[in-house]
């Protein structure tokens, strides 16, 4: 595989980060992450499909615009996180205390986790945009009265919508995770400025 593309590594790191604390230790069970990151989106997806919610091309356009904005912001955020880590690293120039060293290490763990989550957020956004884009091809599906073609069309439609709901819910969960981390980061910023 072409090693320049690290999508799977980003995904692995991001999912692992959901189980880690800021000391870099895995503290959450795999099952817990599985239940809120896979089971919950799956249930949402099935519920939406069963009540007949579907994404048409007009709604998809709105979503594509919204998600693109988030993806753009995420790219920006990556740079901010790295920059804030550098500010903390500079603390060590004037302070060799154990707690400062540990604080910088913890912040580094936090930054690594946040970067992997943001990167994975971008990956999910791109995936969602591609899925939404496919809704525009709905009209290209053969429209006949033949039963099996209808069934295939329906299966394709359900699969596409199911994937959009599933990935969309995962995207929202990741968004909340990133938001929470940003909240911690900004509060910590205030503390640093007060020192």
């Amino acid at each position: 595989m072409w090693t320049k593309i690290k999508i799977f590594e980003i995904r692995k790191d991001a999912l692992e980060s959901l189980r880690k604390d800021y000391n870099g230790r895995i503290v959450k069970n795999k099952r817990i992450v599985f239940s809120y990151y896979y089971m919950f989106p799956f249930i949402i997806s099935i519920t939406f499909l069963s009540i007949g919610v579907s994404i048409n091309s007009d709604i998809a356009n709105y979503f594509i615009t919204g998600i693109s904005i988030f993806a753009g912001l995420f790219f920006n955020l990556l740079l901010v996180v790295a920059d804030k880590l550098n500010v903390r690293k500079r603390l060590l120039d004037s302070d060799s205390n154990e707690e400062t060293k540990n604080y910088v290490i913890r912040y580094r763990h936090f930054s690594e986790q946040l970067i992997s989550q943001i990167s994975y957020g971008i990956v999910i956004s791109i995936g969602l945009i591609i899925l939404m884009f496919f809704t525009h091809f709905k009209s290209l599906l053969p429209q006949t009265d033949m039963c099996y073609v209808k069934i295939i069309n329906k299966i394709l439609e359900y699969t596409l919508n199911g994937l959009i709901f599933f990935n969309g819910t995962q995207f929202i969960i990741m968004l909340f995770v990133i938001l929470s981390s940003m909240y911690v980061m900004l509060l910590d910023d205030l503390k640093i400025k007060n020192k």
Binding site: N23, G24, N97, E99, N102, Y103, R106
Partner: protein
């Protein structure tokens, strides 16, 4: 052979006295609150100064005398104390030993001729190494006290420290700790050779059945000891708790179910060092931590300060990681 050095490790926390539901305090806050002066900004004061004042106060609490236990059989006094502020460590040597009894001094090779008398108001003191680690950003500290196989002043040192915190309106809580790798090593080299079943709170009828002399004795304690076997911990635990701990009929002692009594397994290692573990409490074993003889000062049985300091620093590093203080290393 000689004396062996032992090390007791405790994790401890402090909280404000007489305050209900008071939370454990962050040591940094405690130091800033109690050791900064009115004209100083507690947030800007140098940590080194705070620790120096803490040590000064602790030394002063001895009033240049030996502090005795309640029975006046043992006493301690400060030898020397050193601080490593950037590492949140205070360590040093405490002198302590027996007192309160007249002791005759003999040459080991002559049991007839008395050479000297140590009067009861004198102390025969030995140096004891101790280390306190109080993280400025944490609520759990570590206290290490060295002792000898047959002599120790742990309780006294801890009492003096507790008293010092009480003077600052704080209480101290501690629990014993043994690093995981030491426990594993001990278990690996040990055999289980004794199981004790302890039953308390027998009913009137059961006490009477045992013997009428015990009928009125409400605090009666029955201890059944099973010895005469030696088994590796792995095999022992595999076989021991298949269904019930004891299959024999102990209904007369109200010991039908495993929950009715306490079960203690005793381990011993190749040198005969023993340690017990309560089966009901997750089999957490706390063996005595013996220090290597290479940590002794050359020619004497005392610990060498520099060697024991380095060694206990490495133990502290492990403990800090195990109690979740130190973050995982980064590349």
């Amino acid at each position: 052979m000689g004396h062996q050095l032992k090390l007791d490790i405790y994790c401890f926390s402090i909280r404000v006295r007489r305050e209900r539901d008071a939370e454990h305090r962050i040591f940094g806050d405690f130091f800033r609150e109690n050791y900064s002066r009115d004209d100083e900004n507690p947030l800007q004061i140098n940590k080194e100064v705070l620790i120096k004042r803490f040590i000064g106060g602790f030394i002063d609490s001895f009033h240049e005398q030996f502090v005795l236990n309640r029975e006046e059989t043992k006493g301690i006094a400060t030898g020397f104390l050193k601080s490593y502020p950037s590492k949140n460590i205070i360590d040093g040597l405490i002198n302590g030993g027996l007192t309160g009894i007249d002791q005759d001094v003999y040459d080991r090779k002559n049991s007839i001729q008395r050479e000297d008398i140590i009067e009861k108001d004198k102390i025969t003191a030995l140096p004891y190494y101790f280390k306190i680690w109080t993280p400025f950003d944490g609520t759990v500290g570590v206290l290490m006290i060295q002792s000898y196989t047959n002599m120790g002043v742990n309780t006294l040192i801890f009492q003096q420290l507790a008293k010092y915190f009480v003077d600052k309106n704080h209480t101290i809580e501690k629990y014993k700790y043994v690093p995981e790798d030491y426990k594993e090593r001990f278990i690996k080299k040990s055999v289980i050779y004794k199981v004790s079943l302890i039953k308390q709170g027998l009913s009137n009828k059961a006490r009477e059945n045992l013997n009428p002399v015990f009928t009125e004795k409400e605090n009666l304690k029955v201890r059944i000891e099973i010895t005469g076997f030696e088994e590796t911990p792995e095999r022992f635990w595999k076989l021991f708790r298949k269904k019930k701990i004891i299959n024999s009929d102990l209904t007369a002692l109200e010991m039908e179910d495993d929950d009715d009594f306490e079960t203690i397994a005793t381990y011993k290692d190749e040198f005969g060092h023993q340690s017990s573990v309560r089966i009901s409490k997750d089999k957490n074993i706390l063996p005595t931590y013996f220090l290597d003889n290479s940590l002794k000062k050359e020619g004497v049985e005392y610990p060498d300060y520099n060697l024991i300091r380095k060694h206990t620093n490495s133990i502290l590093k492990k403990v800090k990681k195990e109690i979740g203080y130190t973050p995982e290393d980064v590349d």
